[in-house]
Each structure stands twice: as C-alpha cells, then as structure tokens.
C-alpha cells in the first residue's frame, strides 16, 4: 500500500476532519453560488420565454424592473406599434406580493396581446383570464402552495378566484388582467414595460435603435443576453461570489494546514526513517502532498455528494427555490478544493523535508 494511503487510514479521525473541511467548503461554494445563479437565471429564462425580442423600459431602469411598477404611460403602446418592423407589442405592469411568506412577482397582462408576442400561457388546468377578480398561477406555485383551480385567495387586499394553472416558465408566477392590476395599484394608464417582437430576428437591433430614437425616455433591453444583463446590474454580486470563493479556499486551506502540520509533528520519526533510507527532500514533499491531495479529492467527492443531496432537500423544502449547479462551478470547486489541500500541505511538507534525520530518528 502507498504510504500516503496508509497514513490516511492510520489517522482516520484526522483524515475525516480534513475531508469534511474540504467537503463543507465545496458545498458552501456550490450551494450559495447555485442559489444566486439559479434565482437569476430562472427569472431571466422566464422573461425570455415570454417570447419577445426585447423589453422597452424606462431609460436608466435596471433589469430588475419588478421593483418599479407603473413608470411608463400606456399611450407609448401605439407609438411603439407604429415603428417599422415591429410585429407585436404587449404591455405588462408588474408588482410584487408576499403570499404565505413567499415573495412573488405578479404580471398584469392583456391576454390577447401577451399571446401575440409568442409567450402564450399554456393553461394545463382550468382556463385563461377573462374577467376581473380572476387570476392564473403557474404550476410551480400551485405545487408549492397546494392551491387548485376554483380556490379563492387574498391578494393585494382583494379576493381573487384562481381560474387556471399555467405551465411554469413564462414571465411571472401570478397573472391577472392588466386593467385590474392598474386599478388596484391606482396606476391607470401606466405600465412597467412593453415586450416587443420584431418581424424578423435580423431586424431586432434595428428595431431597438428605432424605438430608442423615436420614443423619448425609454431604453430597449434585448432578451437574447438578459441573464448576463441581470447579473451585471446586480451591485456587489461579483464581490459576493468572490467572497464565497475565497472563504471556501480559506476554510479548506487552514484546516488542511493545521491537520498536516500536526501530522508532520506526529510523524517526525517516520520522516527520519525515510531519510535514513535515503529519501530525498522531494520524496518527502511528494509523500506529504500526495496525502493532502488524496484527502482533498476525498473532500471534493464528498462535497459533491453533500451538495447534490442539499440541492435535492432544498428543492423539496423550498419548491420555489432554484439551485443551479453548473459544470463551470463544479470545475471551480474541484480546482479550489484540491488547490487548498496542496497549498495547505505545502508548508508542513517543507518543514518535513528540512528535518534533520538524526534528530528526527531520536524524536520521542
């Protein structure tokens, strides 16, 4: 058996603590990053699935339009429609509500116009919106809350009957008629944005430029790279990701450093023995680093197991939460876990290599 493997098996508790440290670091990284990316991408995907080519927003607005409600006048609808190569326009008023301790975005839509841009809600139970006092929820909300067609719920200080359940993945989780939401929010003739579809993909940029030129006070946000735009507009997100990454590296590094340093002290005689057999400094360093690399690999593997288990249970406990673990972050996690193990063991390995063999042999 290899010396590194033998030592790992010989010091089971120490090995377990090292593996656990790397494992927790990896899990922390992947789950936190997965939750952030998952939430952003899920929202972005839903907006892209509405079907338009772009969103017309108030100039200077961020991609988080749900945080601002009726900021554009409804009359812009006609102005946008008249722009050449615009095929369809759908005004949407957004609002946020808290329902059963969960945060939801509500879309006020005009069903016919909403369908015209391609994002037709696929009703899988019940029917589409027709009258005031009705709303449609998506299947994920229905699964999370247990609400079914025909139930009445309190929202925005009014009673609504759920008339349909739509397939998840388009726009928001709650839909009601645009005019009704405008009335409830006292924002008559106001909308948050317009979804716009051009006559052909080749005209998207041209249409966007035309709108910005002809309609004052608006900007066009192309939906093609909406997720990236959302990420960019989140102040501090990059810093948060960096902080999580550094924390992961630091936890793994410090635990491995401490464990390997302690083990080098414990194994002073063993290092003396190796040197008395003619082991070079490189041999000793390699032996220590192989051990820490194996521990790190163990930590990375268990980290993935824990991450995917945590993802499974988080989805069960919080059905509306999306944890997205991408191949890129799996690679980052693997690299960080192993790098932390090697870096953490490097100093102890150098100490081991520099030990005086005679002193080491006589170490009690």
């Amino acid at each position: 058996m290899n010396l590194a493997v033998a030592n790992i098996l010989q010091h089971k508790i120490r090995s377990l603590i090292c593996i656990l440290a790397v494992c927790l670091g990896i899990t922390l990284l992947l789950i936190l990053v997965g939750m952030v990316n998952g939430s952003i991408n899920e929202v972005a995907k839903r907006i892209q699935n509405v079907g338009g080519d772009m969103i017309v927003q108030q100039a200077g607005a961020t991609s988080f339009f749900a945080l601002k409600s009726g900021v554009l006048p409804m009359k812009l609808l006609e102005a946008i429609r008249e722009i050449p190569r615009v095929q369809a326009v759908s005004p949407v008023l957004t609002w946020t509500v808290t329902f059963r301790n969960q945060f939801y975005v509500v879309y006020g839509i005009e069903p016919r116009q909403f369908s015209s841009i391609g994002g037709e809600l696929k009703i899988i139970q019940g029917r589409h919106l027709q009258n005031a006092g009705e709303l449609v929820i998506d299947s994920r909300m229905a699964a999370a809350t247990g609400i079914s067609v025909g139930e009445t719920i309190d929202l925005l200080a009014s009673k609504f009957t759920v008339v349909g359940i739509a397939k998840e993945g388009i726009g928001a989780r709650i839909f009601l008629l645009l005019t009704e939401l405008q009335s409830l929010l006292q924002q008559q003739d106001k909308v948050s944005m317009f979804f716009v579809k051009s006559t052909s993909p080749q005209y998207i940029k041209e249409v966007a430029e035309d709108i910005e030129e002809r309609v004052k006070g608006v900007k066009c946000q192309l939906l093609e790279n909406f997720a990236d735009e959302m990420t960019r507009s989140m102040v501090g997100l990059k810093e948060f990701m960096a902080a999580v990454t550094v924390t992961t590296l630091a936890i793994s590094f410090l635990v491995i450093l401490l464990a390997m340093y302690t083990t080098i002290m414990e194994r002073t005689r063993e290092i003396g023995i190796l040197k008395s057999m003619g082991a070079s400094n490189l041999f000793v360093v390699k032996s220590i680093l192989s051990e820490s690399t194996l521990l790190s690999i163990g930590g990375v593997i268990t980290g993935y197991l824990l991450t995917f288990s945590a993802k499974y249970y988080l989805n069960r406990i919080y059905p509306l939460l999306t944890v997205e673990i991408t191949f890129y972050w799996v690679l980052v996690g693997t690299f960080l876990g192993i790098a932390a193990g090697i870096l953490g063991a490097f100093y102890p390995a150098l100490i081991a290599a520099r030990q005086d063999p005679v002193r080491a042999l006589n170490y009690e």
């Binding site: 005689r269 023995i273 003619g278």
Partner: protein, 230 residues
C-alpha cells in the same frame, strides 16, 4: 577481501551547545574491507552512533574524510549523497524504525522505491522475507510482530535494495539474548552467503567478539584498530 570499502581519515565531530564546543569524535581513522563483518564497540556516549551517522551521510563531520566504495561522503553535494545513501547503504537501528502504518511487505517496498529499484520488487521482497524467516507475516503491521521479528523486518528492509554496506546501530539493543544471538547469526549468514559487508555498532563486547574485526572506541577515539577476535 582486502579491497577497502570504507576509509575514514582524521574524522572529527564537534557539537556546539550554546557557547560550549563538545567534541564527539577526535580524529578517527578506520578501514573496513569489502565482505567484512566488522564492529565498533564502546561504552554509551563514546561517539559510536555519531560515527555511524556520519558514515551513513546523515550527519555532517567537522573535519576529516570518509570514502565509501570510492564515493566522497564529506565532499559530495547533499543531493548526490542522499542518492548514494538510498542506493548503496542499508541501516538497521536499535529501535527497528519501521513505518507503523505500512505492513511488512510495504515497509520493504518503500525501501526499493527510494533506492529506485521498484521494478520487479515483489519477487525480491518475498525472497528477502523468506531469507529472514518471516515470509508468512508479510501482510502484518510491524506492531503486531515480536521485537525479534521486527528487527528481522528491519534487516530485510535494509538488505532488499542490495546495499554495498549494511550499517547497524546497536541492532540487538532492544532484544533478549536469545533473539540477539539469532540476529547475529542472521548477520553472519548474510555475510558468509551473500558476501554482505556489515559494520555494526555495539556496546556488547560478547557480540562484538562474534564479528571478523572489532574497533574499540573510547571518548571519541579508536583505541584498537581492528583486532580480529575470530
């Protein structure tokens, strides 16, 4: 038989403890011939182990020269001395110094690996374990063996890489007289059958008398240079 394999001339070693210089070796001259089973005998603290560690390249001398089979142990660079030690010298210690996390077989395997002779090692290791009579305990951990058996493993580990010289530091110091005699008999067999050169350090005059040649040491000096008691 008269070809010199170890040549030591004017070897001194001073230890510095604070501002005090303590001489451990005071001008040692010594020669051991190829195929010889020699011993250095003396009381504890006379400098025997210091001499052995310098011969083995594990300790730096203050002055003098040490040649092992034509290799300059004092003048050589650290890396080449370490390589030479790994390939050509085998150590056996009083405390056995086996690696407790490895089983008997793997303790020998790591010695082959360090010496760079890992290829085809399996047969060689089994043969060596048979030779020292513990082939049936190859998969056991050192701490599960008796002290006599542990020393046999240590000897097998030192010899499996076929070193030019076996250096033994009080190899029977932790053994009872019966096991001591068995180990000495094993050394003798290896010396006779394999032509193995052995230099043994001991404080036990009776054991020293069982070797081909004995160097008597006192206060860091060789008193009698190679009397042959046999």
């Amino acid at each position: 038989m008269n070809e010199r394999i170890i040549t030591v001339e004017g070897l001194t070693k001073d230890y510095k403890i604070g501002n005090v210089v303590v001489p451990a070796l005071r001008g040692i001259d010594l020669e051991v011939h190829r195929g010889e089973f020699a011993s250095v005998v003396g009381a504890s603290g006379c400098g025997k182990s210091t001499l052995l560690y310098i011969l083995g390249g594990m300790l730096r001398a203050t002055r003098g020269s040490v040649w092992i089979d034509g290799f300059d142990m004092i003048g050589a660079r650290n890396a080449s001395r370490t390589r030479f030690l790994g390939k050509n010298l085998g150590f056996v210690f009083q405390r056995f110094n086996l690696i407790s996390s490895l089983n008997v077989f793997d303790n020998l395997k790591i010695s082959c690996k360090i010496a760079g002779s890992a290829r085809g090692y399996e047969e060689k290791i089994n043969e060596m374990l048979r030779y020292v009579g513990i082939e049936h305990k190859a998969r056991m951990k050192p701490l599960d063996l008796s002290q006599g058996e542990q020393q046999r493993v240590a000897i097998a580990r030192a010899l499996v890489k076929e070193p030019r010289i076996l250096l033994a530091d009080e190899p029977t110091g932790n053994l009872d007289s019966e096991n001591s005699d068995k180990i000495l008999a094993l050394f003798r067999t290896m010396n006779t059958n394999l032509g193995q050169t052995i230099l043994m350090i001991t404080h036990n005059r009776r054991l020293a008398d069982m070797t081909d040649r004995t160097f008597e040491m006192k206060d860091g000096k060789i008193l009698s240079n190679g009397a042959s008691p046999r």
